[in-house]
């Protein structure tokens, strides 16, 4: 089997460079099929996020690449060579674990030096590399400390340094920020992104947090029940979700179910013109922020209007979220710039082009 021919369906254009290639990888634990025929390419220097709910198989895919599990079917290639047949310690891949997994009996510096020592790197070189890597994650002053003396955020930095010092071609990060509190997490996100740009190592990042995925990634691979739902850039996946699941998982949305006939969609009491797809039953995703209060400027066939009663108003700082009953129990969520207390019936409008036709 050749190692070339990346498939554009996996999100990379033909002929682009490929670092890691997952070919039809599947994983079964007993009768349970955790991963089903996953094919995915990762380009050098890319920040790719595996996003999914717990049980979606994202961590299993990571563990297949790290070598902690063997695929039940399929292959994994890196730089044109088989990866899945190698033991973990022969792969030029390093992992940052969810709970850091620092060695409790070793100091911070010894933890970071671990990978270099077991590979018999000359001691003179080890000292310099450990020092500069600790400097990179701003932990050089803790070199002599034991991991148990460090805070969660500091342990996270050491775990990162311990992996990066080996100069892996691919860094796997298994929900590395999930154990941190919200503020620290935001700060670590931006540091992680800056670090990745600076050193240019390919990151494969696993998270269940769609906001984190959006903030960090070059591309997001959304997993659902062991299958790839969609692989796209954050902007693309948000603006053009392929399925109702994706639309609901990435950000908030209104899922409109109805019929399309002769270019006209009817979803409950809402009608709008559409050019997307054939006639018949159809599902659309309409983001809450794409719905506005009616003004005179928005008129014509490219706009759709509806009347609705405000049932709930949830204040969110700069914006607020309205739950609007547009008749017959059909509820739509509308996000508007914050503007004070609202009630009663209102006229709403949205651009028909913002109702994205999705698969179920």
């Amino acid at each position: 089997m050749s190692s070339t021919a990346p498939n554009s369906a996996h999100g990379l254009a033909r002929g682009e460079e490929v670092l890691l290639e997952v070919r039809g990888a599947a994983k079964r634990f007993g009768n349970r099929e955790v991963l089903k025929q996953i094919s995915l390419n990762i380009a050098p220097g890319e920040f790719l996020t595996l996003l999914g709910e717990s049980g979606s198989g994202k961590t299993t895919l990571l563990r297949l690449i790290a070598g902690f599990e063997q695929p039940s079917a399929g292959e994994i290639w890196m730089n044109g060579a088989r990866l899945d047949t190698l033991p973990p310690y022969q792969r030029r891949v390093n992992t940052v674990f969810q709970h850091y997994a620092l060695f409790p009996h070793l100091s911070v510096a010894d933890n970071v030096a671990y990978g270099l020592r077991v590979k018999k790197t000359p001691p003179s070189e080890i000292a310099g590399r450990v020092d500069s890597t600790l400097h990179m994650v701003k932990m050089q002053e803790f070199a002599a400390a034991r991991p148990s003396k460090l805070s969660g955020g500091q342990q996270q930095r050491v775990a990162l340094a311990r992996a990066l010092v080996n100069r892996p071609e691919l860094l796997l990060l298994d929900e590395p920020l999930s154990a941190l509190d919200a503020n620290l997490r935001k700060r670590m996100q931006s540091e992680l992104k800056a670090l990745q740009r600076e050193i240019g190592i390919t990151f494969l990042f696993v998270t269940h947090d769609q906001e984190e995925a959006m903030a960090l990634s070059d591309r997001i691979a959304l997993l659902r029940n062991g299958e790839l739902e969609q692989v796209s850039t954050p902007r693309e996946i948000y603006a053009h979700p392929a399925t109702a699941y994706t639309a609901q998982f990435i950000g908030q949305t209104n899922v409109l179910r109805g019929e399309v006939q002769a270019g006209l969609a009817t979803c409950g009491s809402i009608r709008f013109s559409t050019v997307a797809g054939p006639d018949g039953p159809a599902t659309f995703s309409l983001r809450p922020e794409k719905i506005h209060f009616r003004t005179d400027s928005a008129a014509g066939a490219s706009f759709a209007g509806f009347k609705g009663t405000i049932r709930q108003q949830i204040y969110g700082g700069a914006t607020e979220l309205l739950e609007v009953d547009c008749g017959g129990g059909q509820l739509l969520r509308v996000r508007i710039p914050a503007r004070g207390w609202l009630s009663g019936e209102h006229q709403f409008v949205f651009s028909a082009a913002d109702a994205i036709r999705v698969r179920e």
Partner: protein, 281 residues
């Protein structure tokens, strides 16, 4: 909050227990070690004669060193048996783990005496092992050193104390987060490197606890040498036993006991320090 009266009442039974069964006997033993037996009667005359006897008569030092040598051999052998067993159970036994664990523990339910006697029938000159060796013409005469020798004592004690060594090591290995082993492999360490750099250091507290069990229990053992030791396998506890029995020299027996007690307490103190030094959880 509990009242003072309640606290006083509940603390009486343990205090009584410790006082009657621990402090009082030790105090008596301590006092005896400075007394003397004259004309078959115990004389409460304070002196250091017993300790001088221990220091000047080489027989006691000889038996004490033999005892420590036997205890050290038992410790080493039961570590060599117990550690791999614990390692296998913890990391590789998988579904058989429960069963194997029970199989290691089961001998502890059988009386020490029964197991000691069982070895007698195995090792004796008309025993199972010699019969086997002769049947296959490996030997023509019964092999004598099998029974009534330090070798037999070490063998029996190792058999008896290996589960005691196994248990704390197994507990320590079970406590090692498996992600640390994955992290080690991930960083490029082979299985052997992972063992020596991660698993072994993290199991040292269990290893020390097991070694202490084996050494201290062997040090004070008198049944195994009584059953299978013979003259050449006599240990210090047998000397104490005979001094308290037939020889009727409680003061000298107490002096020896005090020495063993000091060695044991010193050892426990040392291993406790070491265990603390190596515990990171």
């Amino acid at each position: 909050m509990y009242s003072r009266a309640y606290k006083a009442i509940v603390s009486i039974p343990p205090l009584l227990w410790v006082g009657l069964f621990l402090l009082l006997p030790y105090a008596l033993m301590f006092a005896h070690s400075f007394w003397v037996v004259r004309n078959g009667f115990l004389v409460h005359e304070w002196n250091l004669g017993n300790f001088k006897t221990l220091a000047s008569n080489p027989v006691y030092a000889q038996v004490l060193f033999r005892t420590m040598r036997i205890a050290a051999s038992v410790t080493l052998l039961s570590l060599l048996l117990g550690y791999p067993l614990a390692y296998y159970l913890s990391f590789h036994a998988q579904a058989r783990k429960e069963l194997l664990y029970q199989l290691v523990i089961v001998p502890l339910w059988v009386s020490y005496l029964v197991r000691g006697y069982a070895w007698k029938t195995i090792l004796g000159s008309e025993g199972v092992l010699n019969g086997f060796l002769r049947y296959f013409h490996v030997t023509h005469e019964p092999v004598a050193f099998l029974l009534y020798s330090p070798f037999a004592v070490v063998l029996v004690l190792t058999h008896i104390y290996t589960p005691f060594v196994f248990l704390p090591i197994y507990a320590a290995l079970e406590h090692i987060p498996r992600q640390l082993i994955e992290a080690s492999h991930d960083l490029g360490a082979s299985s052997a490197q992972t063992f020596f750099r991660v698993i072994l250091p993290l199991s040292i507290p269990g290893l020390l606890a097991g070694a202490t069990f084996a050494f201290v229990l062997s040090l004070g053992d008198f049944l195994a040498p009584l059953l299978v030791g013979g003259a050449s396998g006599t240990m210090i506890a047998n000397v104490v036993q005979s001094l308290f029995g037939a020889a009727y020299d409680w003061p000298l027996g107490s002096a020896i006991s005090i020495c063993i007690l000091l060695i044991t307490v010193g050892l426990l103190f040392l291993t406790e320090r070491l265990e603390k030094r190596w515990s990171f959880q």
